[in-house]
């Protein structure tokens, strides 16, 4: 027989830090192969990074009035990057062909959006739901009237003149907003017990997921007008947006459906047993949980959507990449500075996508109520 009358004290865990040299030994020089790869990697980094920094920063020409400042006297290119190409044409890269004297309008819309959105990131903001609703429902109209004009004495700027980063952001934001909305409804539809709703959702999703986006855009721009009655015009940008929304909502639907399936049956039953209607139990109980689960998948889809907006080039809209590649790239004054343009475009896209990714990770942590202690 054994009985103890003493309670053992809690001791701190043994320290497992053994210093930098130990870390190097274990992680980088652990055996001959590991050592070889470490040295090889170090050599490659040495070969790539210093020249890249030299090209992009040290030898670069940042501002210039003409391309001649980026060239040597004999007409050859200087060694460093010619960012002057970007800085010189920055306005066009941002706004496309939007008239210079009206550019305060998209600027104002952008600033409004940022100012309205900032309070949403603070936990203590009162009436958050109303503010969010305002941004999603009312603000798009305000932004549209501001940017397109036609009311309150604002001069009409046709959507054909919208371009650059502004166009990229407009298409992406509208696309994400509506794709999320329709996608969620489609996902619910696909899981519906009503046969007609279910089959319509399945057919819709499988159709739009099965065709390439480039076909959708091409059809919407070239084929659709052939079927419409003569004389009907339908804004090109609107057609592109509808195409993108239909296409991406099919993807969103499948992502959301994955989340819906992961919610235990007991949650549906508990909601139903309390007398919540179908829509109330979906919006109050099921979707908040399902959406939280599928944040990684949704962000994946949204990043794809954001980058896919570059395809609107083929129907004659000039987004960020199209302005750099096709408009400025064929500008005689700045011929031969392709690389800088592409690097800049890649950097802008990467920055937006990376921010979205970081934000989504923060959101996941914030929404995690699983086993917080």
């Amino acid at each position: 027989m054994y009985v103890t009358d003493k309670i053992l004290p809690e001791l701190p865990a043994p320290s497992n830090s053994k210093g930098l040299i130990h870390w190097f030994k274990v992680n980088l020089f652990n055996g001959p192969f590991n050592t070889l790869f470490t040295l090889l990697a170090a050599f490659l980094l040495y070969k790539i990074i210093p020249p890249a920094i030299e090209w992009a920063f040290i030898d670069a020409t940042w501002f210039a009035d003409s391309s001649s400042e980026c060239k040597l006297e004999n007409g050859d290119r200087k060694d460093g990057a010619c960012w002057a190409f970007i800085t010189n044409r920055f306005d066009q890269i941002m706004y496309g062909f939007y008239p210079e004297e009206e550019r305060w309008r998209p600027n104002l819309a952008g600033i409004m959006l940022v100012l309205l959105t900032i309070p949403l990131f603070f936990k203590k903001t009162p009436k958050k739901a109303w503010l969010g609703g305002f941004i999603l429902v009312i603000f798009p109209f305000i932004a549209f009237v501001l940017i397109r004009g036609g009311y309150f004495g604002l001069e009409v700027v046709d959507t054909g003149k919208w371009g650059g980063l502004m166009l990229t952001l407009i298409i992406s934001l509208v696309g994400i907003l509506f794709a999320l909305l329709f996608g969620t409804i489609l996902a619910l539809g696909r899981r519906s017990s009503m046969p007609i709703v279910k089959s319509l959702s399945v057919v819709f999703i499988e159709f739009w997921r099965g065709v390439p986006l480039i076909t959708v855009l091409f059809m919407s721009s070239v084929m659709l007008p052939l079927f419409l009655p003569e004389g009907t015009t339908f804004d090109k940008l609107a057609r592109a947006m509808i195409g993108i929304i239909l296409f991406q909502s099919a993807y969103v639907a499948e992502v959301v459906r994955g989340g819906l399936q992961a919610i235990p049956k007991g949650q549906y039953e508990a909601a139903a047993a309390m007398g919540l209607s179908y829509w109330k139990s979906m919006f109050l109980v099921i979707l908040p949980q399902a959406m939280k689960l599928v944040i990684p998948g949704l962000v994946n889809t949204f990043i794809a959507l954001f980058k896919d907006t570059t395809l609107v080039l083929i129907i004659g809209l000039f987004d960020l990449l199209a302005i750099i590649e096709n408009v400025l790239g064929s500008d005689n004054a700045w011929l031969g500075f392709h690389t800088e343009g592409l690097v800049f475009a890649a950097f802008v896209f990467w920055m937006f996508c990376f921010s979205l990714s970081r934000y989504s990770m923060a959101l996941e942590r914030q929404l995690d109520t699983g086993h917080r202690n």
């Binding site: 047993a273 109050l284 949980q289």
Partner: protein, 255 residues
């Protein structure tokens, strides 16, 4: 209300009349007949797979019966969506796995249905919620999330959540089966208190025979989709009539 088995004029909370249910070809409930008076406390027991949970899940139509009638508060359940939403506000249910909403705080779990179904103002719903949290003895957990609570605490929250809707009938579907042994009594204590207050019709599927002895007005024993025996607790435990009941009871008591 016509009732072939019982033609008294008494007010019944629940009547099951020749209820039958199949899962595919499997006949899971066979001619279930049961009248539950208002305020009556009934314990349903039986071996696993006997259909006891299915019976109470049919009462609030989480499962659909295929034959016979279910009459709750004088209304026959037809499966009509609007009728169900109305009936379910009067019929609370506690599940084996609690089924709290993990994304909502305890307080929000309790106020969700009162606010969105009964349209009770938020402040009032929160006051009611706190009242019931005090009754189940965990008011200090109101702002935590379900994942932070022990199983016993979660089940007490689930009971409080049902009570917030002020139901006339409470259904308990094996409320202690998923709990660690040392947490069973805290949940049973809450249920005993609730039963002793009276006024509420309670149907409880459970293996807790001590609970049945203490509070039940009637004990029902089911096996293979049938009601085998039905009696008051004293007779049921001391003088079981059918062989299957005797076997079942001997197996429970032997341990």
């Amino acid at each position: 209300m016509t009732n072939p088995q019982n033609s008294t004029n008494e007010e019944f909370a629940i009547q099951l009349i020749n209820m039958n249910k199949w899962y595919g070809d499997f006949h899971v409930l066979k001619d279930i007949n049961l009248n539950v008076k208002e305020g009556e406390r009934i314990v349903i027991c039986g071996p696993s797979g006997s259909g006891k949970s299915t019976v109470i899940r049919c009462i609030n139509h989480l499962e659909e019966h295929q034959k016979g009638q279910i009459i709750v508060n004088g209304e026959e359940i037809t499966g009509d969506v609007k009728q169900l939403e109305r009936l379910r506000t009067d019929v609370g249910m506690c599940f084996q796995h609690f089924n709290l909403f993990p994304h909502l705080s305890i307080l929000d779990n309790l106020t969700l249905a009162p606010i969105w179904v009964k349209k009770i103002p938020k402040a009032e719903a929160e006051a009611t919620a706190m009242k019931y949290l005090e009754r189940v003895k965990i008011p200090d957990q109101a702002l935590k999330y379900p994942g932070q609570l022990s199983g016993g605490q979660q089940q007490r929250v689930a009971i409080a959540r049902s009570l917030c809707m002020d139901p006339k009938i409470m259904l308990f579907d094996e409320p202690t089966s998923a709990l660690d042994p040392e947490m069973i009594s805290e949940v049973l204590d809450v249920m005993i208190e609730l039963a002793n207050e009276g006024g509420m019709t309670m149907l409880c599927v459970t293996h807790e025979m001590g609970f049945a002895k203490k509070v039940a007005d009637r004990v029902i024993f089911m096996d293979a989709g049938q009601i085998i025996e039905e009696n008051n607790p004293e007779e049921f435990f001391n003088n079981p009539q059918s062989e299957r009941t005797q076997l079942f009871l001997s197996q429970i008591i032997d341990h």
